[in-house]
């Protein structure tokens, strides 16, 4: 990160005073999946403690146990040297523990102050007094937000500040932040770090969960690394670096294809993460395969979310769409997938107009879609893997016999696909919802590629995936491009975009506000665009 270096590593442990928090021997299983096995953790007063590891390492699960959201199968928690039992978030709040979740937990129709005071009805004073207190806190810690504003009208960055204020309002002495930078621009990340330094300066301890080595090195005094459901090391900031941290996080995978590991783990500069392993694509000739012009589309509340958007994507090209969440990404992805109605404008694939056509026509025109929320949009959770692989192709001639579905054929094909995509499942008849995130994504990709798509739309395709699965996705995206597919990769992860995109556009408030070619990606410059500062301004 090229931002200002921390004056001093925030919060070095003060020796001698009792530990505000220790966890030991924590185990937790979900069904047959062991998420934590004998994990431990220790927090010193007034420190920012990084908790890092790849996806699925158990970082969030461990903190959810601490916050009372998950009941551990075994283990002990001590707060200020006393053993405690935390059955619910209420207990955790009572012990001075607060948590900011990765998915912001707010009642979107409530105002900021209403969201902040929720659950404190035992406390005294009216909302006006609470609003004053919030203003005071946001001034003190640099967390600017209007207490009267309705939460769903705020930007993602502001909503995250509300979450931190919720914790501070309750006077927490331990603040847990779960992947807080996911939806922030690089500039907002710097501002967040500045606030965190103020917060620890007043004696609060912070647990900072991340899977990006770069970020924890910028803010944390000590860093604990988790892998396979346990803590494997804790190192002081001073005695480690990005490479050292990355090799702790990935273990046996280290050393392979470094640019991908670097992208997934956020090692080093964003721009250099895509070390010029890939040649810069030449400007393509001929007409674009996918062309979007003047598209207007509404969000779920009937408010315009895309305002006359234009895009062109050529065959054999990966177009990255960068931006902070909530700037029209979901709407763009769903428009391109033929799921969301196009109010105005046109979407053409290979010259034929698709705007206004039913989803089925988009599918047969060769559009394949890998949605962001795999569980909600990607699969039929309660149905079998076989059913899920058939989904969308149930009327294909290949699977029909005498007006009925040829189940024998379908099952053969499913078994074959499970092999080819190495989908780990107890069998083709296991419910798809029971698979791990990585295997669900393999299933979704397998279905998408079955259709031999000419346009592939992906949104945050590696979010929440472990490194191996993320690499699988990267490989498939490259395959698609090499096969002559026009790929649209919508992502909030600049590392991922820098690695894969031949060209990048920035989406802000439903419009494209800038474009860069491979070799000209600069994190802070892109960050300014993501924050809505236009090129011509």
């Amino acid at each position: 990160m090229s931002g200002p270096a921390p004056a001093a590593p925030a919060g070095s442990a003060v020796p001698g005073s009792p530990r505000p928090l220790t966890m030991s021997g924590i185990s937790k299983s979900f069904g047959s999946v062991r998420a934590l096995s004998d994990a431990d953790f220790e927090l010193a007063p007034g420190e920012v403690h990084g908790l890092v590891g790849g996806n699925g390492a158990g970082k969030t699960t461990l903190m959810n146990v601490l916050y009372g959201l998950y009941r551990p199968d075994a283990g002990e928690v001590h707060v200020d040297g006393r053993e405690v039992t935390i059955r619910s978030p209420r207990d955790a709040i009572g012990l001075g523990i607060g948590m900011v979740h990765q998915h912001l937990l707010q009642v979107s129709t409530y105002s900021v102050v209403e969201n902040v005071v929720l659950g404190t009805s035992g406390g005294s004073g009216g909302l006006r007094q609470a609003a004053r207190r919030i203003t005071e806190l946001s001034d003190r810690f640099g967390l600017a937000v209007d207490p009267r504003a309705r939460t769903d009208r705020l930007s993602v960055g502001a909503r995250q500040r509300v979450e931190i204020l919720k914790v501070l309002y309750r006077g927490a002495r331990v603040l847990i932040l779960d992947e807080p930078t996911t939806n922030l621009t690089p500039q907002e990340v710097d501002a967040l770090f500045a606030s965190l330094r103020e917060i620890v300066a007043e004696g609060t301890s912070v647990v900072f969960i991340s899977h990006k080595a770069r970020e924890v090195l910028a803010i944390c005094g000590r860093i604990s690394v988790m892998r396979d459901g346990r803590r494997i090391a804790t190192v002081p900031r001073a005695s480690t670096d990005a490479t050292g941290l990355a090799s702790l996080m990935v273990g046996e995978l280290a050393g392979e294809r470094t640019s991908e590991v670097a992208a997934a783990l956020g090692v080093g500069e964003v721009a250099s993460a895509a070390a010029a392993e890939e040649p810069v694509a030449s400007t393509p000739d001929g007409p674009a395969l996918l062309s979007v012009s003047g598209v207007v589309a509404h969000n779920d509340h009937g408010v315009a979310a895309l305002h006359g958007l234009d895009l062109e994507v050529w065959a054999g090209e990966v177009l990255g769409v960068a931006g902070v969440a909530g700037n029209g990404q979901v709407e763009l992805a769903e428009v391109l997938a033929g799921v969301r109605p196009v109010r105005q404008g046109s979407v053409r694939v290979g010259g034929s107009e698709l705007a206004g056509a039913p989803t089925r026509r988009w599918l047969s025109a060769g559009v394949a879609y890998v949605p962001e929320d795999r569980h909600r949009d990607g699969i039929l959770g309660a149905a079998t893997v076989t059913d899920n692989l058939l989904l969308g192709a149930q009327r294909d001639r290949a699977y029909r016999r005498g007006g009925m579905i040829d189940w024998r054929r379908v099952r053969e094909h499913a078994r074959d696909t499970i092999d080819r995509y190495s989908i780990k499942t107890p069998g083709p008849d296991a419910p798809a919802g029971n698979l791990s995130g990585g295997n669900i994504q393999r299933l979704v990709l397998a279905r998408a590629f079955d259709r031999e798509p000419s346009v592939l739309v992906l949104q945050n395709p590696t979010r929440g995936l472990d490194l191996r699965s993320a690499r699988f996705v990267y490989d498939r995206v490259r395959d698609a491009r090499d096969r002559g597919c026009a790929v649209v990769l919508i992502s909030e992860d600049l590392d991922e975009l820098s690695l894969l995109a031949d060209r990048m556009v920035v989406l802000y408030s439903g419009e494209v506000v800038g474009e860069r070619r491979r070799g000209h990606y600069d994190a802070y410059e892109l960050g300014r665009l993501m924050a809505g500062l236009r090129e011509d301004a």
Binding site: Y70, I93, G119, G433
Partner: protein, 309 residues
Amino acid sequence: MTEFASLAQLTVVAMVPFLLASLGTMLGGLAGVFSVSQEGVMLLGASVGFLVSYGTGSSVLGILLAAGIGGVFGFALGWATTVLRLDQFVVGLALFFAATGLAGLLYRIVIGQSATTPRVDTLPRLEIPLLSDIPLLGRALFAQNLLVYLAALLAVGLWFYLYRTRSGLDLRSVGENPKAADSLGIPVARTRLWTTTAGGALMGVAGAFLPLVFTATYTDTIIGGRGWLAIALTFFGGWRPQFIVAGALFFAAMDVVALRAEVSGIDVPSQVLLVVPYVATLLVMIFAFRWAKVPQFLGRNYDRESRTA
């Protein structure tokens, strides 16, 4: 009494079962539990209220026990959907059946086969001096039985509680985003349990109101769809007490118009008049479902440890 004044008075009386059942539906719904057992719970309330009043001569006791049995069914809905996390609609239907069967069974057991239809005394009117002498609306508003006044107070009280207190803010957050509520220490299951229990009690009273105020007798068809109409009314009222009161007035007016027109001998087949409330409701729902601000998590169960929600 003028024709208008008497119609107004009837309408206010007819409002009460709609209002109580709808407020009960709303209360559970704002915490995220959608009940579909109104019709059955109301019938059970009518049966219990009638039988207790018939046996003891005390209609107050009848109403209290109707509230009690309604509360039991409300609690069962809350328990099955929070602790056991069973599907809200399926459990609601099962409770609807059980309550319907129980209502008829209790009546048959206590009354048996009797040649004459047993009757109870209806609730007395409490006339508020001076105010009830106001022309036109005086008697409609101030010469009613105790339950009418209580229902009105309840609507105002619920509005104040839900929209003007911190505790009401907490309650509504459970129906809007239970995960957010839970993460701030608001007890989701407990909130859902007490709201469905109180809601069920209100439905029980709404049912008891019919034999104890309207008919003085019990029949298996006494509810006549008012439980289902109460669900429609809750949507129509946008899940807010103040609009539910207004909506209840409309539903009651439809009820009264249908009855009155028949008596006054307008030259229209009686069947046409009798379908007016149902058809009017169907038409009104076209608009109601557009504007109703339904609690975001209505009808969905909450599982803290679910990893996919």
